[in-house]
Symmetry: C2
Subunit: 410 residues, 2 copies
């Protein structure tokens, strides 16, 4: 008899009918003998409905009151899911954040979980009850309602799995697992049976938005096996776990992540004075613009050029900042380009295999793809290329690294 | 600087726009220097929306989960009202039941308030904040969410007024006070400046549904002046208070209450054996049918006949019960009539004035209204008459007891 924490997102509980399907699934597991703790999000659309309602009054509403408002979304779902479970003869009890309690800090709208007191839930589990917990929310020491920010239900699920020492934390979603790359770009993309936490983090931060990054970090830190699987189809999904647990024949590259959300900025002709890069990036940071890939080169004339990427929505803002700093520093020009894409090969296997980068650059070269920026880490190689060459590049790399699905499905 | 508890019902906060109007009103009082604790209901329609959602899954949902579900309605309103108050530069803080805390027993869907801990609210009041409390809900000793039943927000308001020793508890609603009778029936019906708790209880239980009975009882018990007034119009409304505080020239009759919700049942030819009435009413009670007016007479042949009224929806059910009991007792017949109405004169002045009943019966007689049942208490005379004669009867009595509005308003 194992203890599972299962999280169902907003799409999975979007209507009364879907809540009933989820209840069918859960009561099946429960009858099989598992101890189940369920975490649910608000019915999809509900959080936006509440935000709209608040915005009609004031678009700059205080975050304490926004948290009190938005936390009702999950509260509705836990009650409805328990009602559906009871109808199936399955004992179940709802918990909102303050009832567990899930203790957080006081950072409204982006609170961090400080502690989860497991004893009340454990008592109810011992009585054979399915525990249904409202995701995304908690309570601070003064009893104020807090929320963990969008997607925070994944974090709630992992934190509960840690606190209750669960066997596995299962994230039910509308995809049936983590893929080698986006199946909309590469038809032969393959569902991965397993992936390491590190790889998943790299995949997630690169735009494979299956799981919230915080939840993956959290699960990795506490070594809780995490599984992504589909609410609507059968299947074992993708298990995210420690490297040790994986089979020996781990492929070199596990997946290809990419995104089209970024823009590239370059400052040229920066006088070669110590601290120039820091002054430029400092100014960008003070304007609250997040910087992603950064590359610096020294040109023949001994001046430097600094290139970095930001979210596309912030390109104009970043350009304004750079134009000012460029004058102060005596740099020669500021350039920007929003027609770029970022592509990353991810895989723990890279650590022990030289030549992955060489194969990657060679493949892109043969396709006449000019690599504008390169950045590497132990398990990832990121390149920035022209946006219109992205799909072609992803397909070629997917094939060359053997990620394609077997064409014959037996 | 006085402390006021103000309650705004569902119609008063039905839309974002109305919530803004309520915020205008409250911030006005606050600027004037009053300490304000506001109690709000769910936006009208919201509770029904949630009930429908639950009913789509199961119409016999557990009351614990229904309470968790329904309590979100008020939580949404408190957050939105605080957002609207902040926008007006008015410091405000929302409280849900468990945050106050409002401690109740464990009777889900009809919980009773056991205790209110005022210290947290008092601390925030001392900081100059308007306190906005979710009505209708509380929390039991185990931390479960409970609700007080429909209309329970009035009770929340009165209980807070008691706990905080407020000067007055003001119930804002869509009528501008308590009237001598329903203005839809008697055009000249007059708003009462004041009425006693006892009178209000009799008016309320007879169908003048301005205030929840429990709230009136509660306010009376703890001597908290209660005021009913309009959210949408100016005016001082109706003050419900102790008899002592009213002026000397209190009229004999304060108002006329009536309803058309009941049906009448009669069992005839009951053998004159001790305990017969108890057996009949006992059987009705065991079937969970509530009985209102009861009259028993002994006929010439020494058999008795028992007549009582029940809610019209339960007439058929009551008839079935009576038919069985009648056979057991050897009674001769069971009759039912749903074309009846109940009418009551209410007034503390009756206590010291004989002749009110005589005037009432005389007036009805002159109008050829046959009185089917009579029941009296210290401050009320109730009669049951044919439904089609109700309007006529109310108008005649309203006029004869001098309740009509002066036709000339100076």
């Amino acid at each position: 008899m194992s203890l599972l924490v299962q999280k169902f997102g907003g799409t999975s509980v979007a209507t009364a009918e879907r809540i009933e399907s989820v209840a069918d699934k859960i009561s099946g597991f429960h009858k099989r003998g598992d101890n189940i703790v369920v975490v649910v999000s608000a019915m999809s659309g509900e959080t936006n409905r509440l935000i709209k309602l608040a915005n009609r009054i004031d678009e700059t509403a205080s975050s304490r009151e926004m948290d009190a408002l938005l936390s009702t979304g999950e509260q509705v779902t836990v009650a409805l899911l328990c009602i559906a479970l009871h109808k199936r003869g399955c004992k179940a009890k709802s918990y909102i954040g303050s009832q567990v309690p899930i203790l957080t800090d006081n950072a409204y709208s982006k609170a961090r979980i400080l502690d989860i007191e497991p004893s009340r839930i454990q008592k109810d589990l011992a009585k054979g009850q399915v525990i249904v917990v409202a995701g995304f929310q908690g309570v601070d020491e003064q009893g104020n309602i807090t929320t963990l920010g969008r997607g925070g239900s994944d974090t709630t699920a992992v934190a509960l799995a840690v606190a209750l020492k669960a066997e596995e934390c299962q994230i039910y979603t509308d995809v049936d697992g983590v893929y080698t790359t986006d199946p909309r770009v590469v038809e032969n993309a393959r569902r991965l049976d397993s992936i390491t936490f590190e790889e998943m983090l790299e995949m997630a931060s690169q735009g494979s938005k299956v799981l919230q990054i915080r939840a993956v970090e959290f699960a990795g830190k506490y070594k809780i096996p995490l599984r992504v699987l589909s609410t609507f189809n059968e299947g074992s999904g993708t298990l995210i776990t420690l490297e040790d647990n994986l089979n020996m024949e781990k492929p070199i590259v596990s997946g290809i992540a990419f995104n089209r959300d970024e823009a590239k900025l370059t400052v040229r002709g920066i006088p070669d004075i110590p601290g120039s890069a820091a002054r430029i990036l400092g100014a960008v940071g003070r304007a609250n613009i997040e910087v992603d890939v950064i590359v610096q080169n020294v040109a023949q004339d001994k001046t430097a050029s600094l290139t970095f990427t930001v979210h596309r929505n912030e390109m104009k803002k970043a350009e304004d900042v750079l134009n000012k700093v460029a004058i102060e520093l005596g740099a020669t020009s500021v350039e920007s380009d929003e027609n770029i894409a970022k592509l990353a090969l991810v895989g723990v296997g890279m650590r022990s295999h030289a030549g992955v980068a060489a194969t990657m650059f060679d493949t892109l070269g043969k396709e006449n793809v000019n690599i504008q920026m390169i950045s590497t880490s132990e398990i990832k190689i990121t390149v920035v290329i022209a946006e219109n060459l992205l799909d072609l590049s992803v397909r070629s790399l997917h094939s060359i690294f053997g990620l394609d699905q077997d064409t014959v499905d037996l």
